[in-house]
């Protein structure tokens, strides 16, 4: 089972560290805050620092492994490919500063600073966004997530859609797994070419769609039979409240924001690597 599926299968957070106890809104804000900051700056070192801090928090909260696996699958191949394509003379239009040469298959190719910077910074920015979002998702249990979103004035039906998606996707993966097994039992070959593979999808997608529609219909009936659309104010078992730890975390974020604003104004958008905007 892929890392993505096992990630989505995670419906409860077993550990109970300070990060699990933090209010969901604070962690959600951290995700937005970190993502925006790494996009404002254009510096792989600074972005890497954000990534390290996020991963360190994830490790403390015992959710490092699924986040690292996701980054390994999505980001590492991207960096390897991106750097090769952008830093070498394969048509990246803003390449102009040669920082060295490498030999590729007997050809001496120049390595460009602009492509190298762009090729490393972009995947790192995405890494920060993914890891902080997963940090929020994996350390916030669903009851708290619902309460958090409700406090954030998200409409109840929209909250349900988000939660149902988290619950439904793993179910669908289980269902798809059973369907694949059923078709393999009827001789479906999985080690085939692309064309056959597309044809194979039909044998899985059609039963999966029918099964999903049936499940959705059943769920809608059961929800309505328990008053989902009742025109009353909903109450929750868990009440989202900010604690001292939440305020401390927010305080650290505010202090870092002030510091980085000063850095931006006095040093610039690339304070450590000193990169130029590629189109500059």
């Amino acid at each position: 089972m892929s890392a993505g599926i096992s990630l989505l299968k995670r419906t409860a957070v077993e550990a109970n560290t300070i990060f699990q106890r933090l209010d969901g809104r604070v962690k959600f804000l951290y995700f937005i805050w970190a993502t925006v900051l790494v996009y404002i700056f254009y510096d792989p070192y600074l972005t890497l620092a954000f990534l390290i801090v996020t991963l360190a928090m994830a490790a403390y909260a015992k959710v490092f492994k699924p986040i690292a696996m996701t980054l390994l699958i999505i980001i590492v191949p991207w960096i390897i490919l991106g750097v090769l394509i952008l830093a070498l003379p394969f048509g990246f239009p803003w390449n102009k500063t040669v920082i060295g040469y490498i030999n590729v298959l007997g050809y001496r190719l120049p390595v460009y600073l602009e492509g190298l910077g762009w090729g490393i910074t972009w995947p790192l920015r995405i890494s920060v966004a993914i890891s902080s979002a997963l940090f929020f998702y994996l350390t916030t249990n669903q009851a708290k997530l619902v309460a958090t979103l409700f406090k954030m004035k998200v409409p109840f039906k929209a909250i349900y859609m988000i939660i149902a998606t988290f619950q439904f996707i793993p179910l669908l993966f289980d269902e798809a797994n059973t369907i694949i097994q059923a078709q393999i039992s009827r001789g479906l070959k999985t080690d085939v070419g692309v064309l056959q593979r597309i044809k194979n999808y039909l044998a899985v997608v059609i039963p999966l769609t029918i099964s999903a529609l049936n499940k959705v219909q059943t769920r809608a009936i059961t929800l309505e039979s328990r008053g989902f659309s009742a025109p009353v104010k909903k109450t929750f078992l868990y009440e989202a409240r900010l604690t001292a730890a939440d305020w401390a975390f927010l305080g650290i974020m505010a202090a870092v924001t002030v510091f980085l604003a000063w850095v931006y104004v006095t040093i610039g958008y690339s304070p450590v690597a000193h990169l130029q905007w590629i189109w500059a």
Binding site: M1, I179, Q183, I184, S185, R186, G187, P207, I210, S211
Partner: protein, 277 residues
């Protein structure tokens, strides 16, 4: 006694990303022509064992030999030719828009000629009583017939062993009866049948041998009459025997020996004998 068609040797199975052993040291031999019921509580390991029999799951430890082939070494496509698996929910496998195409799907995957496929489809449909439905859309069939269609679609692959996963679940009385009758008929035709079921009446009426599984281990394996009348063992495994067995047991406790009937018909014969006395 015939050679085992399937040999399970010290089979241990653990699902990926799980530390729990779903199967713990299963040893089992299935011989050609047997009609076996696999019973046990939910989560006991019945389906996991069955999926190990046709190569869908590969043993974590130990081995499963199908006609002498180790399922760990031989591709699943080769094993499924010999051990067919009919899944519990018909909608998990039906995807073609005609009954004919649905049944032809398996043989087509084996690369058979059109003539051979047509012959197999006709044969399989006639075995389950669905001749004449070739051009019908599978989802226009009632649930009972959909179930029969899934059986036909696996039969068309002409496996030696047929695993039926909960065949009577969701069936009305008539559907249950048809499937019980079909199991016996297929067994007479030479198929080795392994049925996973919670339906003790089906077990009593159909199975010659019953295997009770609990906590990933075989608790009891023997003739169905012996297993279904071992009330203490069944009770420990949270299995309720058929009502006829319960009735005979209750009568015995009252000092009336009504024998060991498993089915209503057998009970009737016993009562006739008692009344004659």
């Amino acid at each position: 006694m015939s050679e085992p068609i399937i040999k399970v040797e010290n089979l241990w199975y653990q699902y990926p990303e799980s530390n729990f052993w779903a199967l713990r040291g299963i040893n089992l031999e299935i011989r050609r022509g047997e009609l076996i019921a696999l019973i046990g509580q939910n989560g006991g390991g019945k389906s996991t064992l069955a999926k190990n029999l046709n190569g869908l799951y590969k043993p974590t430890k130990g081995r499963v030999l199908v006609e002498g082939m180790d399922t760990k070494e031989v591709p699943t496509q080769e094993i499924v030719k010999r051990v067919g698996y009919v899944f519990q929910n018909p909608s998990h496998q039906i995807f073609e828009s005609k009954v004919y195409d649905e049944v032809a799907y398996g043989p087509k995957n084996f690369g058979l000629s059109e003539d051979e496929i047509a012959e197999r489809v006709e044969w399989a449909l006639s075995l389950v009583g669905l001749q004449g439905y070739e051009d019908v859309h599978p989802y226009d069939l009632d649930y009972g017939k959909m179930k029969l269609l899934t059986v036909a679609s696996v039969l068309a692959m002409k496996p030696d062993v047929l695993v039926l996963d909960e065949p009577t679940t969701g069936q009305d009385h008539r559907g249950r009866w048809i499937l019980a009758d079909l199991s016996k008929k297929l067994n007479r035709e030479g198929f080795t049948i392994v049925t996973i079921t919670h339906d003790m009446r089906y077990v009593a009426e159909v199975a010659k041998r019953t295997i009770l599984i609990a906590n990933g281990q075989i608790v009891m394996d023997g003739p169905t009459r012996k297993v279904l009348t071992a009330l203490d063992i069944l009770h420990k495994a949270a299995i309720k025997p058929p009502q006829v067995v319960q009735l005979a047991h209750a009568l015995r406790e009252k000092g009336i020996d009504a024998g060991d009937p498993l089915t209503v018909r057998e009970a009737l014969e016993e009562f006739k004998r008692l009344f004659k006395k």
